[in-house]
């Protein structure tokens, strides 16, 4: 069964000058362990599609199932639970909470999911080692570099062992070398069994995916199988 399956997804934004269709009739499925890169020019609807797939936004029409469950009819609590347990999110601007340490930022989604304290501590330790930042556990975001912040953000997204990780321009705020390290880390995440959907402008990074989907004017215009 696909981790996520979208059929004929459309998202229309009402605007003062008239409605704008950001995503138009997109259908796609992401299987377990899949790695999809969403590419296309700015404003083509990549991020909107990612938000729809991440159950953050609601489609104007079309259906979306996560692990076979139709999310269209779900309320806020159920949608939040799906995001918490099944989907991980990585943002371009990291969005780490500045008042928490790196370890506390990683621990946060687990605490919200009701994971026991000892299990949380063990998992935090495991994830810090995974992203190679064990020594930075007690550092606050302001004391970390951009690359380190994004690693912590990836660790946070993996905290509840999601089946799918969505990343919106995860290397967008980083220099080339740091971006490459992040790309390698995400590669490792995918290799360890987590399905990945990334939005990126970086063609080199996109080539790491198994499939590259290209969008234009809200429509999927091509699909390339890389591996």
């Amino acid at each position: 069964m696909s981790v996520i399956e979208a059929r004929d997804l459309t998202r229309v934004f009402p605007m003062p000058a008239g409605p704008v269709t950001a995503v138009r009739g997109v259908s796609l499925a992401v299987d377990p362990g899949d790695f999809v890169a969403l590419c296309g020019p700015s404003g083509c609807g990549k991020s909107t599609l990612l938000h729809l797939l991440g159950v953050v936004d609601t489609p104007s029409s079309g259906t979306l199932t996560v692990d076979g469950e139709d999310v269209a009819t779900l309320g806020d609590v159920a949608r939040s639970r799906i995001r918490l347990r099944k989907i991980g999110f990585v943002f371009q601007r990291f969005f780490l909470l500045p008042m928490l340490t790196a370890a506390e930022n990683i621990e946060l989604p687990m605490a919200e999911a009701g994971v026991s304290k000892s299990e949380r501590a063990h998992r935090v330790h495991e994830l810090l080692e995974y992203v190679e930042l064990s020594k930075r556990a007690d550092h606050r975001p302001s004391q970390l570099s951009g690359g380190e912040m994004q690693r912590i953000a990836i660790a946070r997204a993996l905290a509840n062992r999601p089946r799918l990780l969505l990343a919106d321009e995860p290397t967008g705020e980083l220099d080339q070398t740091t971006g490459q390290h992040i790309a390698e880390l995400l590669d490792r995440v995918n290799a360890d069994g987590t399905a990945l959907v990334i939005v990126t402008h970086d063609a080199v990074f996109a080539r790491r995916a198994r499939r590259i989907l290209t969008m234009r004017d809200g429509v999927l215009v091509s699909e390339e199988r890389v591996r």
């Binding site: 601007r93 909470l97 919200e112």
Partner: protein, 395 residues
């Protein structure tokens, strides 16, 4: 991490802002607490003063304040008659007048109080003995100091009450003791005479006239029943229970303090509401990206709202708790200022602590915390996750 722990971290993150907010709430909270103490403080203090005299009824002609209404003629005879009533335990006729001590280089004004010799509750003799006959006077400590005299010395009194002919010669009496007079102001000067002597000082012929009769109710009788009995026995008298006196004071002389207390309570609550609403709203607006990210990571709307509410509770709660000691200290200062009003009895207080005030203080601040958090909570509740994340990236 609980909503409160999370909110605490948010506050610690911006210490200057949090401290200023809490200090602001504490300052308005202190004023609010004081206004709650003031709203009933004077009444409670007056009630305590009235009850310490041991009398629960005050009978006079009409309802004018003591010393302002017509005199009860033949007060001694009326008191004797009232003492025969089964509802009455004790009666003390009392007369108040204004006088001038004239045999010193600098004449000074005194409050002249007249009672029957041996009256209970009219005054408390501290030194020497009580007034037993005409020509004897009790003075308070302040008068003794002003005169630089001793018990046994002379004192010349003249009335300064309006409406009394000033051609009356000074009245010479002998100081027989020092007394503590009820309702005495901080540096007030009071002398106590027999009823007849107060009449003589006032230019009369020594009549037993009184302003009011203090009446103690007999055991097993209510003040209301005694009031009815007194008014039945002497129809020209109007008796008031202590409770009625208090109601009258609340509606009359004390109403200013109730009004200002009400107005300032409303203003301070409004101020605290504005302060916390603005603090939280700006705080939420500055963190929309973080909030949207947390929501994207799976935090429910309810949880995000709880975080804002917890922050409001922490700011308002800390401010409200801090307001109590500050308010108590401030109330001392305000009480001291207000006790400078001429003629205010030394034992009267404007700000009196009552558990009820503490409860209302807590309830009002709880209400403020909820009301102040409503708008920012609504902002969080209606925050569009996707649009906010998009906007954060674009900005």
């Amino acid at each position: 991490m609980s909503a409160f722990a999370f909110a605490l971290r948010s506050l610690v993150r911006q210490p200057a802002r949090a401290l200023l907010g809490i200090a602001g709430v504490a300052a308005v909270g202190a004023l609010l607490f004081d206004m709650l103490l003031l709203s009933n403080g004077l009444v409670i203090s007056m009630e305590r003063m009235l009850s310490t005299t041991g009398y629960d009824l005050r009978a006079a002609i009409g309802t004018a304040p003591p010393g302002r209404g017509p005199l009860i003629e033949h007060a001694g005879a009326i008191a004797t008659r009232l003492r025969t009533l089964p509802e009455v335990a004790r009666v003390t006729p009392l007369r108040l007048s204004d006088g001038l001590v004239v045999h010193t280089a600098r004449p000074f004004a005194v409050r002249v109080m007249g009672a029957e010799p041996g009256s209970v509750g009219a005054w408390t003799v501290l030194e020497g003995r009580d007034v037993r006959a005409s020509g004897e006077v009790l003075v308070n400590q302040h008068v003794l100091e002003l005169l630089d005299a001793r018990v046994g010395g002379p004192l010349e009194l003249r009335t300064s009450a309006p409406g009394v002919r000033t051609v009356t010669p000074p009245f010479r009496v002998q100081i027989v003791g020092v007394a503590d007079f009820p309702f005495e102001s901080e540096r007030g000067s009071t002398v106590g005479l027999s009823l007849e002597d107060v009449d003589r000082v006032s230019g009369g012929g020594g009549a037993q006239s009184a302003d009011q009769l203090l009446i103690a109710t007999a055991q097993g009788t209510t003040p209301a029943a005694a009031k009815a009995a007194v008014e039945r026995a002497v129809p020209t008298l109007t008796a008031m229970t202590n409770a009625q006196v208090l109601v009258r004071l609340q509606e009359g002389g004390l109403s200013y303090f109730r009004q200002i207390s009400f107005v300032l309570t409303t203003v301070t609550i409004g101020f605290a509401f504005l302060l916390v609403t603005v603090l939280l709203t700006v705080s939420v607006n500055q963190r929309t990206g973080e909030i949207a990210a947390l929501r994207a990571l799976g935090f429910s709307r309810r949880r995000a709202i709880a975080d804002v509410f917890a922050e409001a509770v922490l700011i308002v709660g800390s401010g409200a708790v801090l307001a109590l000691p500050v308010g108590l200290a401030l109330s001392r200062l305000l009480d001291w200022i207000l006790k400078g009003i001429p003629g205010i009895p030394a034992s009267l207080h404007f700000f009196v602590f009552q558990p009820r005030a503490l409860l209302i203080h807590g309830l009002l601040f709880a209400f403020t915390a909820v009301a102040a958090a409503l708008y920012p909570m609504r902002l969080v509740a209606t925050l569009p996750i996707a649009a906010t994340l998009r906007r954060e990236v674009v900005s």
